[in-house]
Symmetry: C2
Subunit: 204 residues, 2 copies
DNA sequence: TGCGTTAGGTACTGACCGGTAACACCCGTG
DNA sequence: CACGGGTGTTACCGGTCAGTACCTAACGCA
C-alpha cells in the first residue's frame, strides 16, 4: 500500500533511473571517495538502493564494475574537452580554459585526484581489466594534448604537452596530501608561464 | 639438531637482523609493490620469515606498521637529500642532481610512484595514522625545496619549487600508468628549462 | 644453576569479502 | 488471463581479513 504508492511516486520523479545506472553512480561516488579496494559490493548495492544480486546481474564481477566505472569517468573527461572545444575555437584558448578548469577543480577542496590515476595506484596487477582502461585513457589524453599544443603553433609541442600534463597530474595527486593552499591561482600562473615560455623561442 | 645447526648458521650470516627490521623490510617491499590494502599481515610475517604474533609484539596494529613503513621511506628520502647536499655544495647543482636522480628513478622501469603519495591515495580516512606522516613529509619536502630555490637565488623560488615538485610528482604517478617512454631524459630537459626560465628574469 | 625476556608455532575468533542459489514478487505484454 | 523478464530478499558458500590466547623453545644474564 504505502510501498506501492511510494514506488509509483518515486517512479515518477527519480527512480525511473535503471538499477544499472544507479549502481554505476553509487559505485563512482564510493570508489572515488573511499578508494576502490575499501568499498565492498554490498555497500555499493545498498547505496544504489538495490541489492547484490541485481548488481551481479548487470556486472560480471567487481573488477568489471570497476572497469566500467573508469570508462564512465574517461567519458566525462572527454565530454569536458568537447565542451571546451566548442566554447574555444582557438586551440591556445582551449588549452588555457583547460588549465583554469583544472585549477578550479583542484582547489575545490574535495579533490581526491584523478580517478583513473588513483585506480592505477590501487590496482597494480598488470592484468586487471581496469588497467587497460587507464592506460588507454592516459595515452589518448597525452596525444590529444600534444595535438592541441601543435595546433596552437607552440614550440616543442610534445614536450610542452607533457609539462602541462605532468604539472596538473602532480597538482591533483598532491592536493589530497597537502591542503590546496592557494594551489589554484598558483597553478594557473605556472601553466601560463610554461605556455609563455613556449610561445616565443623557435627551439632553445 | 638440523634445526639448531641451521639456526646457528643463519645467525652467523643474515638472520642476526632483528625480527622487527625483517618485518619492516618485508612490509616495505610488499606494500610498495602490491599496494597497502592488498597486503595482509600474514603475508608480511611470512615474507619476514617470522609469524604474525611476533609482528604484533612489535607493532600495535597494521595501521601503525603502515605508519612506521612510511616513516622509514621518508627517512630514506631525507638521507638522499643529505647525500646530495654533501656532494653538491652549490644549491643549484643540488637541485639539478635531484632532478637527475629522480629522472633515473622514474625511468628505471619498476617505478610505482612515491610510496607516501600512494599511501595517501590508498588511505583516504582523515584520521589514519599514516596520513599525518604523509602530510608532514610533503610539507617538509616542499619547504626544503623552496629554501633550496631561494638559496640558489632563483626568481620566484616558491613558485619554482612548486613547479618542480608537481612536475616530478606527476611524472612518478604517471610512469606507472604509461610506460616510461623516454620520460627520463625528457624530464631532465623539462626541469632544466623551468629552472632556466627562473634564472634571468627578476620577476615578470 | 635458575630466571626472565624474546621469539616461534598453532589454533582460534568474529567480521567481512566476492560471488551464488533458490524463491517470491511486480508489471507490462500477449 | 497467463506468461516471462527484471527485480527484490534471504541465506549461504569458501576464503581471507585483523587481531588474540596459549604454550613452548631458545637465549642472556646473574
Amino acid at each position: 500500500m504505502m510501498q506501492t504508492a511510494a514506488k509509483k511516486l518515486s517512479a515518477d520523479k527519480t527512480e525511473r533511473i535503471s538499477p544499472r545506472e544507479r549502481i554505476l553512480a553509487a559505485a563512482a561516488e564510493l570508489f572515488y571517495r573511499n578508494g576502490i579496494r575499501a568499498v565492498g559490493v554490498d555497500a555499493i548495492a545498498e547505496a544504489a538502493e538495490t541489492n547484490k544480486m541485481t548488481l551481479y546481474r548487470h556486472f560480471a564481477s567487481k573488477d568489471e564494475l570497476v572497469a566500467e566505472y573508469l570508462r564512465g569517468e574517461a567519458e566525462k573527461v572527454r565530454l569536458g574537452w568537447e565542451r571546451r572545444a566548442a566554447d574555444n575555437p582557438e586551440p591556445c584558448a582551449q588549452l588555457r580554459a583547460w588549465l583554469r578548469d583544472m585549477a578550479r577543480h583542484v582547489s575545490s577542496g574535495d579533490e581526491r585526484g584523478c580517478p583513473l590515476t588513483n585506480a592505477a595506484v590501487e590496482l597494480p596487477e598488470k592484468d586487471h581489466p581496469a588497467r587497460r582502461v587507464v592506460e588507454a585513457f592516459k595515452t589518448a589524453q597525452r596525444q590529444y594534448l600534444a595535438g592541441l599544443c601543435d595546433a596552437a603553433k607552440l614550440a616543442e609541442p610534445d614536450m610542452l604537452a607533457d609539462e602541462l600534463f605532468l604539472l596538473l597530474e602532480g597538482a591533483r595527486v598532491t592536493a589530497q596530501s597537502m591542503g590546496p593552499e592557494g594551489m589554484g591561482e598558483r597553478l594557473v600562473k605556472m601553466g601560463e608561464a610554461i605556455i609563455k615560455a613556449h610561445t616565443i623561442s623557435p627551439d632553445r
